[in-house]
């Protein structure tokens, strides 16, 4: 990723601080990416779910988050677009920077953040509305100004990008719930694309799907990364290896007070992480010695 020099100048705190903060984790090379976390802790009430996560996600790449269940992958993911705001007890310390702006700063609008950083969930969750409306709704509420035919184009474009158009073009008025699981998930991806985000977060998007549907989604992700930065949580290491450019391994440890707090072990290019991991814990995990 090439980085415009003036951007570093415009954001004086960004470059040096990142380099310090990420320390051992390999992220500083590329400079600030589209999204960065800096010493981020996430709490649920008094429970610290993840501690001290600093990582930087690069433009137009797929990053994968892996690790044993309960290590806080979903928690980290939700913190990246303030979906954690929906959980009353959740609290984030540290910073998450999006294009250099801390999204947890008091004057930042979480609604705006979520439009730019879209999300696809573990279980497909289409609205109980027509396929067309599923996609059009997001655009409408975000102030879509085009005509009716513009809207049709937008819906078609989103469905084409999500590789769903051919399957549904004759039944746009049918309920989104009438589709198969894999189609529903692609509908959810199309819906996310239609509001023109530049990052898409996916939390185990294939875990509820059969292998064929999974394959289609994986192919789709590879196509989408031309235009979007994608961050995906997966419990499936093969999937991470197949689709991602970089992979982060999270682990969970008992801290001194007996809490099971997750932390980032290693964030490296995927081929590096799976062949020559830096950390012993990563190696144990990917070779299946635990987790």
């Amino acid at each position: 990723m090439n980085e415009t020099p003036e951007s570093t100048v415009l954001d004086p705190t960004a470059a040096p601080a990142t380099a310090d903060a990420v320390g051992g984790v390999e992220a500083a090379d590329d400079g600030p990416g589209v999204l960065e976390t800096r010493s981020m802790d996430v709490f649920y009430g008094d429970f610290k779910a993840v501690a001290d996560v600093s990582m930087s996600f690069t433009f137009n790449e797929i990053s994968a988050l892996i690790g044993p269940s309960g290590c806080g992958k979903s928690t980290v993911l939700r913190s990246l677009n303030r979906m954690n705001d929906l959980i009353p007890t959740a609290r984030v310390d540290g910073e998450v920077r999006y294009h250099g702006t801390n999204i947890y700063a008091g004057d930042v609008d979480p609604v705006e953040i979520r439009r730019r950083i879209g999300m696809v969930f573990q279980k497909p969750n289409p609205f109980p509305k027509s396929i067309f409306d599923n996609i059009a709704w997001g655009a409408k509420i975000n102030g879509f100004k085009g005509s009716k035919s513009d809207m049709k184009d937008l819906v078609q474009g989103a469905l084409e990008q999500a590789a769903l158009w051919d399957e549904v073009k004759d039944k746009l008025t049918e309920s989104g719930l009438s589709l198969s699981g894999g189609q529903q998930q692609r509908l959810c991806i199309a819906r996310a694309i239609a509001v023109q985000p530049d990052v898409i977060l996916m939390d185990e998007p294939c875990s509820a799907l059969d292998p064929i549907a999974t394959l289609r989604i994986e192919e789709l992700m590879l196509e989408l990364k031309e235009n979007y930065s994608i961050i995906i949580v997966t419990h499936n290491m093969q999937q991470a290896a197949r689709v991602s450019d970089r992979t982060a391994f999270f682990n969970v440890e008992l801290d001194t007070t007996g809490q099971r707090t997750g932390h980032l072990v290693e964030f490296s290019p995927t081929d590096v992480l799976f062949t020559t991991p830096k950390e012993k814990a990563t190696e144990d995990y990917i070779t299946g010695r635990f987790g």
């Binding site: 990723m1 980085e3 415009t4 951007s7 415009l10 954001d11 960004a14 600030p32 589209v34 433009f59 137009n60 920077r97 999006y98 294009h99 250099g100 702006t101 999204i103 008091g106 004057d107 930042v108 609008d109 609604v111 705006e112 953040i113 023109q196 530049d198 990052v199 235009n227 979007y228 930065s229």
Partner: protein, 323 residues
């Protein structure tokens, strides 16, 4: 896509600035007000009951002490002791519970532990219909069926036209569905593993129901009974119609306890009955009669509030046991 240029700069920070969404604020504000109206209702009730009662107790004929100790309620004669009205209420409540608890609990145990889906499918709607019938219709039923029945059984000289027994039985019928559905909910919440454990020890169905399920659900059942009691205390139409408009003034030293004070065959006005009858004429404001209904109302309110919080406390304790 903006991502290609990778500008992380002041313009982006500007775009992410918190929007002022006045429409959204107005909506949330009015939703909050809708919620807060319920607080206003409570304040209204407390204020109105309190202030009018205060006026009542300020009257020369009335004293707080006498109100809570005297056993004569005779507004015409300036006697304002609440006990006769409480007596009427309690008599009817007790009779109602004597009717409703056995029926309600048996119904609940049967429906929850014994009944096949088909039998349930018949009985449940019947109980639901019973819930939906207005209390004034139950009042009509008490007058036209229950009272004549009782009078023909026990004799017209024994049973008065207005009597507590008829009112109590009908109020009991009215709260059966309430008690049975709350008890059934409590028993449904008993984990099945407990039943299986007992069956595994060779217990019969009856033993499982009565020795395992009912004790495990006991606090839920008790809470349901207390709620039913609170309903009976606050019930108005049946008692107004069937139990008459004469307070049962008594003198514990002189009156026979079973022959008169607790006699179920004669009428006795209740707290709710007094309020309804007094208010049903063209009642003029700021008279002692007008103010007295609020003093009674306050007592009634506190009684039902006490019963309702008692039931909630019982349920809470029950939850802790299970966690």
């Amino acid at each position: 896509m903006t991502s290609e240029t990778g500008v992380h700069d002041a313009t982006m920070a500007e775009q992410l600035k918190r929007r002022n969404r006045p429409f959204e604020r107005v909506i949330v504000g009015s939703l909050f007000i809708s919620g807060a109206i319920s607080i206003a209702v409570t304040i209204g009730i407390l204020w109105e009951l309190g202030s009018e009662s205060l006026l009542f107790f300020r009257e020369d004929e009335v004293s707080l002490g006498k109100f809570f100790t005297s056993t004569v309620w005779q507004p015409q004669a300036g006697e304002f002791g609440i006990w006769p009205l409480i007596l009427g209420t309690l008599l009817i409540t007790v009779i109602a519970l004597l009717v409703a608890v056995p029926i309600g609990l048996s119904a609940a145990i049967y429906l929850s532990e014994y009944a096949s889906p088909r039998v349930r499918g018949f009985f449940k709607p019947v109980l639901e219909i019973l819930v939906g019938i207005p209390t004034v219709v139950f009042g009509f039923f008490a007058i036209t069926f229950m009272t004549p029945l009782l009078r023909s059984i026990f004799g017209e000289s024994v049973v008065g036209f207005f009597n507590v027994l008829s009112a109590g039985i009908v109020v009991g019928l009215l709260i059966v569905p309430l008690i049975s559905s709350l008890a059934e909910d409590a028993m449904a919440a008993v984990p099945n593993s407990l039943r299986q454990a007992a069956y595994g020890l060779g217990a019969s169905r009856l033993e499982v129901s009565l020795r395992v399920v009912v004790p495990a659900a006991l606090s839920g059942i008790a809470a349901g009974i207390v709620i039913g009691m609170s309903r009976a205390v606050g019930e108005t139409m049946v008692v107004t119609l069937a139990s008459g408009a004469a307070p049962r003034n008594f003198d514990l030293a002189a009156d026979p306890v079973f022959g008169y004070v607790l006699n179920p065959f004669q009428g006795a006005q209740t707290m709710t009955g007094y309020i309804a009858i007094t208010a049903s004429g063209d009642i003029s404001y700021d008279t002692i009669d007008y103010n007295s209904i609020f003093a009674i109302g306050l007592t009634l309110f506190l009684m039902t509030l006490g019963l309702n919080s008692l039931s909630r406390r019982i349920v809470k304790r029950y939850r802790q046991e299970y966690d």
